[in-house]
C-alpha cells in the first residue's frame, strides 16, 4: 500500500512539475518549488502516518521534473522517470540520511538512467539496421 502510494505521489509530482515548468513556461525553479511547497503543506495534513515520507518523495520527483524538454520530450517519458525516481527513493531510503542534496542526486540518477536507456536502445537499433543492411547487400549482390 505504502509503496504504491509512494509511486503514485512521485508520478503526480513529476508530471505537475514538468507541466508547470515546460508546458506552462513558468520555469523549472518555480515549477519545482511550488510543487515542493504545496506537498510539504498538504501531505502531512492529509496523511498523518505517511505524510512525511510522501512529501519527501514529492519533492524528490519534482527535482526530476525540472529536466529540460530536449532531454525528456514527452509526458510519458516523465512518468517513467518519476517511477524510476520513486523506486530509487525506496531503495536508498536508509543511505545518506540528512545530507542536503540527496533527493536531487536521486532525481539526477533517475534522469540519467532513462536517458542512458534511450541512447542504448537507439544505438542497438542502429546496429541492428546496419547488420540487416549488410546482410541484404550480401544476399542480393
Amino acid at each position: 500500500m505504502e509503496i504504491s502510494l509512494i509511486i503514485g505521489v512521485s508520478v503526480l509530482s513529476g508530471i505537475l512539475t514538468y507541466l508547470l515548468s515546460n508546458k506552462l513556461k513558468k520555469g523549472p525553479v518555480f515549477g519545482s518549488a511550488t510543487v515542493t511547497l504545496v506537498s510539504g503543506i498538504i501531505f502531512p495534513y492529509f496523511f498523518p502516518e505517511f505524510g512525511t515520507t510522501l512529501m519527501v518523495v514529492a519533492a524528490c520527483s519534482s527535482y526530476a521534473g525540472m529536466v529540460a524538454v530536449k532531454n525528456i520530450p514527452s509526458l510519458w517519458e516523465m512518468i517513467i522517470v518519476s517511477v524510476i525516481t520513486s523506486l530509487l527513493f525506496i531503495v536508498t531510503s536508509s543511505s545518506y540520511v540528512g545530507v542536503g542534496g540527496k533527493l536531487g542526486t536521486i532525481a539526477a540518477l533517475s534522469c540519467f538512467t532513462w536517458i542512458g536507456f534511450k541512447k542504448f536502445i537507439l544505438a542497438t537499433n542502429i546496429n541492428v539496421n546496419n547488420t540487416l543492411k549488410h546482410r541484404s547487400v550480401g544476399i542480393w549482390s
Binding site: 523549472p28 503543506i41 512529501m55 539526477a108 533517475s110
Partner: protein, 119 residues
Amino acid sequence: MKINMNKIYILMCTITGVTLTYYLNHHMGYGAIISNGLIGVLAALLLPAPLAGVTYTASFVGMSSAAIIPSIALATFGGLVVGLIIITTTEIYAGIGGKGGTTAAMATIITRAITGLLS
C-alpha cells in the same frame, strides 16, 4: 584584476539561499521541504532565472540535518562552497533534472569533510 560581477552575484545568492533555508529549517522549525519550497518560490518570483536556479540549488544544502551541518555559520560556509562549485560547473549537464541536488550533495559532503578536519 577585473572582478566578474556575475560570479559575485552567484556567491551572494548561494550564501543567502543556504543561510535562509537553514534558518527556516532549524531555527524556525518549518522543516526541510517547506523551507526549500519557500526559498525556491521567492527566488523564482524575485530573481532573474539563472540566479533563481542558483539560489534554489544552494537551498538544498540548507536542507541538511543538524547532525551534518550543526550551525548556521557552517551553513553559510556551505553556501560559499556550493557557490564555488556552481561557478566551476555551470555548463556541465545543464538541463538534467537533479543536477542542482547533486551539486548541493557534493557541497554538503565537502563542507562536512572540512568541518570534520578542523574540529
